[in-house]
Amino acid sequence: MAINSIDSSKRTRLVPQNFIDGEHSYTTISEILAGVVLNPKPPTVWFVATGLGFCVLNVMLLAVTYLVLTGTGVWGNNQPTAWAWDIVNFVWWIGIGHAGTLISAILLLMRQSWRNSINRFAEAMTIFAVMCAGLYPLLHTGRPWLDYWLFPYANTLGMWPQTRSPLEWDVFAVSTYFTISLLFWFLGLIPDIATLRDRSQHPLVKCIYGLASMGWIGSAKHWFRYEQAYNILAGISAPLVLSVHTIVSFDFAVGIVPGWHTTIFPPYFVAGAVFAGFAMVLTFGLPLRSVYPQIKDFITEKHLDWMAKILLATGLIVFYGYILEMFYGWYSGNTYELALVYNRLFGPYKWFYYALIFCNGIFPQLCWVPQLRRNVPFLFVLSIIVGIGMWLERFVIIPMSLTRDFLTSSWGYYAPTEWDWALFIGTMGFFVFLLFMFIKVLPIINIFEMRDLLMKNHHQFGHGHDGHENSEEAH
């Protein structure tokens, strides 16, 4: 008993803060969060954003249709740059997705209860971002209707995919990542869908939510197994998310192109992914807070502050990666690696490199100032700049190395075409459209985990009835 009380006091010490602002009860939490979905009249901004997303989504459909009808030649890719925006954007999108898994799985395992209010929405981002990402390699195969060839299936040709290739690893990594993220997301949604089922008035709406809730009744026995399953999924998602971006980085690191063949790639890609992903959580989370002011009690300034701190930390790791890349180039003494360092600094794409250093290395340092970490307009600008910076990082890695490799005769210059732009901007529309549709249909904040947080707050801060004041000073 004595040991127990000491242990629990240490644990509460780790999270000494209350992550719910204002006075809330289980009733108000359910009302506010389900109300965002069940409100028959969404705010005007919702219509504007969804409409805009839908229009831009059509640009994507146009770009895909034209590409499929014509061929990948419509892109700017050509020798020596066989990989260009398609893979830049693939890596960028998949990196954005990673914050969702980090927030929902890794922070869950670390008992970071502040994640409860941002995980749902970040997980949705993960799924939509992976959808956008997956589109690029699938289209880049040139004949997307034969993409099932990527999977090992018994075929009349008697052939199998080459499982020694990082590109084949990608197929498995990304498809597993998408599947597991979807399962994890859906599992997390079930109790909340049950809340929506019980709160909705319209019989058809009730019926749809009723079917989707799988008949969830909140039985203690069900919760027990549910939490087991949820934690196991979190436990496997954590190494999964690390493996996905590691494997994505293998696409480059296993190759011998100058600037790609380094061991720093896996950790530096993973950190970059989290960096970009948290930036995207802020890019969408901040406008959401102003469109739905009622959720400000749940996504508080403390959350913004902590997210900014994570941005700063992962940004520093990424910056360290940039410095090490330069160091490796110099220290290797290899002519081609040295030439790459020179080209980054003084080559045809040097401004991209300088912009990258500014966006990811210099600008995020402002997060050291505590007032700025809670300043919404600043954070929004920061998140956009980091998003651009992470895109530049992939651009610097990919076309910059490919256009300046071993033989001067095979040097070249890469520029995107209008169809590269159309597809890239189109996927953004796709992402925005899906995200806003999600906001209208499913709760953006995990309702049952907010109730759980409230219960913990009651125990911790004594709003409830049982006196745990003795755990204040136990050591």
């Binding site: 599992l187 009744i217 496997i236 109730r451």
Partner: protein
């Protein structure tokens, strides 16, 4: 409690409604101590300590996940080995066919995939979901079990079940309301 006994003959159980998770834990403990076995508690979020109070334990999901993982791992590694060594051997510069380090990424992904699918499916299977109809939905006020209220239901299949005594017992637990659940 006033409206007991003259309804349909089919009864699923007697339910008590609470507004606090800690009271629910206490009630579950008392119910178990009183000797009831076929009862369940319902809450809008996982209440830690409730399963313990009910003496409920089930370790099948972690084990299923574990064996799912082993299966995925064997499938992943075995399939790649079979392709590389037996069905489609390819001589790449005289290098060995069994290049196991290069099989690790897909083996890992297969492990995760099968573990995840097993966990997901077994959660539903063991919980008996999806189940569109559940007698508990007939319970009074039960739509709040997914929002802000906590319920404890002693079912008729409990050997000790007796309508009058169960009702009286539940009323003694500090419930807001006690009512019957038609099956």
């Amino acid at each position: 409690m006033a409206h007991v006994a003259d309804e349909s003959p089919k009864l699923f159980g007697i339910v008590a409604e609470f507004d606090d998770p800690d009271v629910l834990i206490e009630a579950a403990t008392k119910t178990r101590v009183a000797g009831y076995r076929k009862f369940d508690a319902y809450s809008p979020m996982p209440v830690h300590g409730l399963a313990e109070a009910m003496h409920f334990e089930d370790v099948r999901i972690p084990w299923m996940a574990f064996f799912g993982g082993i299966t995925g791992c064997c499938l992943g590694l075995g399939f790649q080995t079979w392709i590389a060594l037996i069905d489609y051997p390819m001589n790449v510069g005289g290098k060995p066919l069994f290049t196991w380090p290069q099989f690790i990424p897909i083996t890992f992904e297969a492990t995760v995939l099968v573990t995840g699918l097993t966990t997901f499916v077994s959660q539903f299977a063991l919980n008996g979901l999806p189940k569109p109809y559940n007698p508990m939905f007939n319970a009074k006020n039960f739509d709040r079990a997914s929002q802000d209220r906590f319920f404890l239901c002693i079912e008729t299949r409990d050997p000790k079940f007796d309508e009058a005594s169960v009702t009286e017992f539940l009323q003694g637990l500090g419930a807001l309301d006690v009512s019957e659940v038609p099956a």
